[in-house]
């Protein structure tokens, strides 16, 4: 599904190197988790994959089902099936959540040459998905993320994911800021989307999320590289011992 090969990334405006040769291969239907100290480059990896400005790829590649992602506009990557749940979801005053969702769904359909979803079908679908995530009608009407609590913003990300049905989902610290119940809701939302060959890359600091969303692989990122890969037990090790030993090993 997603193949990342020797990816090197620096900031466009400064001579600061952030990713130093990331290799990652995610097969269809797999769930991978990335853990790693603050500032190790996890969000940068997710932004570079989804096409945010400000980064320069100096080496390497990333493909989604064989298609070179890094050459594509962000909207084309989305239409190709890539989705990023932001660590910090963005507020858009003046754009209603509903309008935003419908515009996104229809834009992707159009790019893929599919017909637009009818207003009625769309409404039904949103209401149904919103209900399972406990997002009320008022939140759907309000401007995108404006005045939403931290947890509401994260649930809103998952709602977007549920509506867009991407095949490669990257969740960047979707668990941070969630209370225990919301964490369960969000995990259920994610688990409901598992299967059908859909893959996930879950970035998190806490093993707790991985109790709900069981990963096939856990990777440790440090200083712009993946320094260790293992199974779910690796997350437990981090939870218990921190990164010190792993970092020492990785050097």
């Amino acid at each position: 599904m997603l193949e990342i090969n020797n990816l090197h990334v620096k900031l466009e405006e400064e001579d600061k190197v952030i990713l130093r040769g990331v290799n990652l291969s995610i097969g269809a239907g797999e769930v991978h988790a990335i853990m790693g100290p603050n500032g190790s480059g996890k969000s940068t990896l997710s932004y570079v994959l989804s096409g945010r400005d400000g980064y320069e790829v100096t080496e390497g590649s990333a493909t989604l089902d064989g298609e070179e992602l890094l050459e594509m506009e962000p909207e084309a990557r989305a239409a190709a099936g890539l989705f990023l749940a932001f660590q910090y979801p963005v507020e858009i005053p003046g754009v209603g959540n509903m309008t935003f969702l419908r515009t996104a769904v229809n834009a992707q359909r159009k790019t893929r040459g599919e017909p637009e979803i009818s207003a009625g079908d769309f409404l039904k679908l949103v209401r149904e998905k919103a209900k399972t995530l406990k997002i009320d009608a008022d939140m759907l009407k309000r401007p995108v993320n404006v005045g939403f609590s931290g947890g509401e913003k994260k649930r809103n990300e998952i709602l977007q994911m549920a509506m867009l049905e991407p095949k490669m989902c990257i969740l960047d610290e979707t668990d941070s800021g969630l209370d225990v119940d919301a964490m369960k809701l969000v995990s259920e939302g994610v688990n409901a989307l598992r299967g059908a060959g859909r893959s996930f890359l879950v970035i998190t600091h806490y093993q707790r999320l991985l109790d709900h969303i069981k990963p096939d692989f856990v990777h440790i990122m440090a200083a712009g590289r993946i320094i260790k890969t293992g199974g779910p037990e690796l997350a437990l090790e981090v939870e218990n011992n921190g990164y010190a030993d792993l970092l020492a090993e990785g050097v």
Partner: protein, 428 residues
Amino acid sequence: MAVLQSKQDALQARLSGLQFAPGGWLGAARSEALRRVTAMGLPGKRDEYWRYSDPTGLNATDATPVDLFDPLDEPAPFSGVDRLKIVFVDGVFDASQSDALALEGVQIEHLAEAGRADIHWASALYGVLETRGQSPVQRPLAALNSAFAAQGVLIRVTATPSKPISLIYQHKTATSDAMLHHCVKVESGAEVTILENGAAAARLSHVMEVDVADGARFHHIRAQGRAHLRQAITHLFARIGRNAAFKSFTLTANGHLTRNEAVLELLGADSVAHVAGAALGDGDFHHDDTVFITHAAERCESRQVFKKVLKNGAVGVFQGKILVKQGAQKTDGYQISQALMLDDDSQFLAKPELEIYADDVKCSHGSTSGAIDETALFYLRSRGVPLRAAQSLLVLAFLAEAIAEIEDEEISDDIRQRLQSWLARHEH
């Protein structure tokens, strides 16, 4: 104080190209207006009130010729709205394109014809609100209009008509120079919507005086013409009674020079005055909103909401003042002016002012200018919305607060449509 010679010279040159029409109550009103403008002279570049906009083109004896705008396949504004149409071509009434001036609850007369009578209700309005608006700031171009406008309509609203009255201003001659002056009197308990659209002429001078009686409601939605080099000076004067509402929205897309002045007086308690504008400028575009709202009664609410989208060197100006007189307690005054810069070449000049002589009031004003939010743009694109569509969505979002001032949904949809098609035409 002696009037500057340059202002007098400008006036004399301007007068040489104009024809004074005496006779009737209107002739008397015109003579007085001529006296007013003579005492003031025409505006000069050094006038404080014209600091950000250059009146030269408005003062000039002749209008600078302007190519006609080609709307391509875009329907004219308000085309889908059931309305009573009154058409002016290059500033002159055109009966052949207009509906019969008959609508239940309204009397509509032509200024020139009605002006020949000895007495008329409009004599209590014509030039009267304009005169009130001459202090504390002078508006010579409005007085000039009162003195010379030969065309316009007098609208008296006694009940609530079934549809809006639509004033359509077609521009068909490159050199045309139009002066229009309308009076609208909305009587107690009545409600009316006035629509205006079109460039009118290469140069337009426009005055509308509006009297909103106790318990009456007045709605005004205007889409100014899109000819690129046209120039326009418009004045909206209103006197608002008790428990009444005045709401005006203007869309301005293109235009070499537009100065829209609004002078609104809240004279009765518990009333509202809203004036809003959305302006879109690309290139050789100078757009000026100059607003003066006086709160002279208790518990009134006023809103000024002005949004400008600027690119390629376009200039936006906002001068807005809220004056709260002594005794106008519980006043709620809100003023916002914002510019969205689509590049680094454009300019936004804002001068918000508050002058308050009552102690129990709530007034706020804010003015900002900034670029499109790149983070929001990326967020939209990451969800699959293409760049252009994402930009349009954010521009519309920026303008939303101004458009929300239009109460009628069909009309606000029409305006939104226009904004979208402008954006499509002016993509980077």
